[in-house]
Point group: C2
Chain length 431, copies 2
């Protein structure tokens, strides 16, 4: 069976994955002489930098997600198909999906990366990842459910397991999440659970390296650590989590910590696409590409974003796996494809570092710009502004902004609801 | 095991269920000389009149849900416990739950009603109910997923199954939902799915009786029918749905309609509480109570809201199962319990009909007040205002209002996202 997409004389670009890279490329190719088919397992683009606020009940999933169909309404050359990709055949230039096959002239792999559990099955099956809005929602529900349980749990050890949270990984995700959890502990939980001694809640941030936020400046990483400690987070540097049995986290060197919830943000690994042979991939399962994001050794196949591994003069070991690289690579590829249409020469990709930032709590953020660094309230305002600006859709911007203003002045995120869509199958089983 | 609630000299009122009735009673008893334990399977109160807007992607679940703990923060005599009730023992005055047992001095049953499938197992297991925010979310996901599928379904019959929707039941839920679906068809789907011929979408509203909105005036019920027809809904009066095999809806008299989605809003039946014997219940599984909502024949047990059946002069067959009755009964019971504390005489319940209303679409609503009736734009404004006012929480009011304003001017509900919380179990199985 064929996927139902019109046959035209236009070259067909199939983009697999709709994160920052895939989406930006599709926007570049809107209303051009390419036919664009955008494939994603979700019908929306998700704004990853704010997942941690969904997890801590500060924002709704819908506020940081944007429907793909809405984005491409006025672009008749773009077709959105919600499906997974089972396999790619780069010889016959076909992708296989559960809803049918599709030929491509140009394939762009923008499938991103997922949580890396470094082969530890115990951790993989028990720790909570944070690489999708669904996972963030799951974490939110788990936190709220465990606090509800803790109120009726008289046993001290058991209660500690329910209320303590271990975050593993001192990158931006881990730091921002630990900060947001500390704010929940400091401002919200004492009001919601007067019966609970909130002093008993421990939030741990475990970092294998000797500093937090390794990609940032030493000043910012020190500042982030100081902010977190000030807020009551137990920051442990040079600490490796070795195992997790669902009740105890085992730390290298004989220590163990009781926690029913471990959030794993300690690393990522490139997603796999069946049909792209292992020989094309390199460190961290990334696909090796040339300076124009073309997969080395494959005709008409490109890779962009977190999944791509490109060596540039200043980045001999590849670029950092961050949104800015993904967006800039997609822009460059989009322009090159448009240059092809006009038979102009392509240009090589060159990453322009716009800086990096992380927020730790209210009035507390760190910003590294290429020329200078700053922290505190002003950094926090810059962080808010940059993220609002990057969010897709006027309504999302408005609602996120209102939520932030509301939360700032009331010290209260009011989304502490354990809502799960009803499952029809489950219902049928019960009856 | 005992549920962890402090023992005091105060009388303990246990309220089971936190709909309009249970919540109102708990609010009446805030900071009184009763200890109040509020039990619900959710940690939030849900605003049922707007479920249909969640189902049609107009509002977020969080906008119409309110966290219980937040409500009772400043009320140290109130304890919220999120659990189900397994059984009640009215002799020993104990309730049994998965998190332990609890003694009561006064038990208030406010467990409401659920969808009535009238014993048809086929319909029960396949049709979609609309009695919780989770079910509304499930309906939203089903609608959006089926439209995605329809785009790649070349077979006409199969596509009809995916895009046609049958709503069964011409009460307020059915009417408001059918209207909202028609607006989706008219304003939103043609923009989102330019590849689809939206003329092919059929929305059916099946009503067994000879008019819609049976509780309202003949004028309003006629007006609602006219509004719906104008918007393109196929309204079928005197039409009984007899069966549903998941593909075809079987209508009395040999007709069948292909539809993968059937929404069942054709009736409700009182929820059951193990330990309250059948002999205390009457029509529609409602618990028979006296004029003070005391269960006939049981000491210190009360029933309020949809689950209660009380005969009043003007209502010889019981009150309509609507929010206003629930709220007024809870108020009266709350006042009576407070009168008990002061050794004052109790008062009988008397229902004051404040009128009823239903909205069909933008600028289209019907309102019946005790003295007069009206319809159209002004009725619609009144409907919006009354519902906003009834919503709990300033933030919910603000966000719902902003959503309505946004949707009104953009003709666009932007929440068309298929988001499901990630399931850890599922993840473990896949690996």
């Amino acid at each position: 069976m064929e996927i139902n997409v019109p046959s035209t004389s236009k070259k067909r670009v199939v983009i697999v994955g709709c994160g920052f890279a895939g989406l930006e490329l599709a926007m570049q190719l809107r209303n051009t002489d390419y036919q664009v088919v955008l494939i994603d397992k979700n019908n929306y683009h998700q704004f990853q930098p704010l997942f941690y606020q969904v997890a801590t009940a500060g924002l709704e999933p819908s506020s940081i997600s944007f429907p793909l169909r809405k984005m491409f309404r006025k672009s008749p050359n773009t077709f959105v198909r919600r499906t997974t990709v089972e396999k790619v055949d780069t010889d016959s230039k076909t992708i296989m999906t559960p809803i049918g096959n599709l030929n491509y002239d140009i394939l762009v792999v923008a499938i991103g990366a997922d949580t890396n559990f470094f082969g530890n099955e115990n951790i993989a099956s028990r720790a909570i990842p944070m690489k999708s809005v669904s996972e963030a929602l799951y974490l939110r529900n788990s936190i709220l459910e465990d606090f509800e349980k803790s109120v009726t749990t008289p046993d001290f050890e058991e209660r500690q397991g329910l209320i303590d949270i271990v975050v593993v990984g001192g990158g931006p995700t881990g730091v921002e999440l630990a900060g947001a959890l500390a704010e929940m502990k400091n401002y919200i939980l004492p009001k919601d659970y007067p019966e609970l001694n909130c002093e008993e809640i421990d939030i741990y941030l475990m970092q294998g390296a000797d500093c937090l936020l390794k990609g940032m400046s030493p000043e910012s990483s020190k500042a982030a650590e100081a902010f977190l400690k000030e807020m009551g987070v137990q920051v442990r540097l040079n600490t490796r989590v070795e195992d997790y049995d669902g009740k105890f986290v085992f730390i290298q060197g004989d220590e163990k910590i009781r926690a029913d919830k471990v959030i794993w943000a300690a690393g990522i690994i490139g997603n796999q696409l069946q049909g792209i042979d292992k020989k094309y991939t390199t460190y961290g399962n990334r696909i090796a590409v040339n300076r124009q994001n073309q997969v080395n050794g494959l005709r008409d196949v490109y890779a962009i974003g977190d999944i791509a591994y490109m060596e540039e003069e200043d980045f001999p070991k590849g670029h950092p796996q961050v949104a800015q690289v993904a967006i800039q690579q997609a822009k460059n590829l989009g322009k090159n494809l448009k240059r092809d249409l006009k038979q102009k020469a392509r240009k090589d990709f060159k990453y322009k570092d716009l800086g990096s930032m992380a927020t730790i709590g209210r009035n507390k953020a760190v910003v590294d710009l290429p020329k200078f660094k700053f922290k505190g309230f002003f950094a926090w305002i810059v962080w808010l502004f940059v993220h609002l600006r990057a969010l897709l859709g006027v309504k999302n911007k408005l609602f996120v902004f209102l939520n932030w203003v509301w939360n700032y002045f009331t010290y209260d995120q009011s989304l502490r609801l354990i809502i799960k869509p009803f499952s029809k199958r489950k219902k049928a089983e019960n009856e």
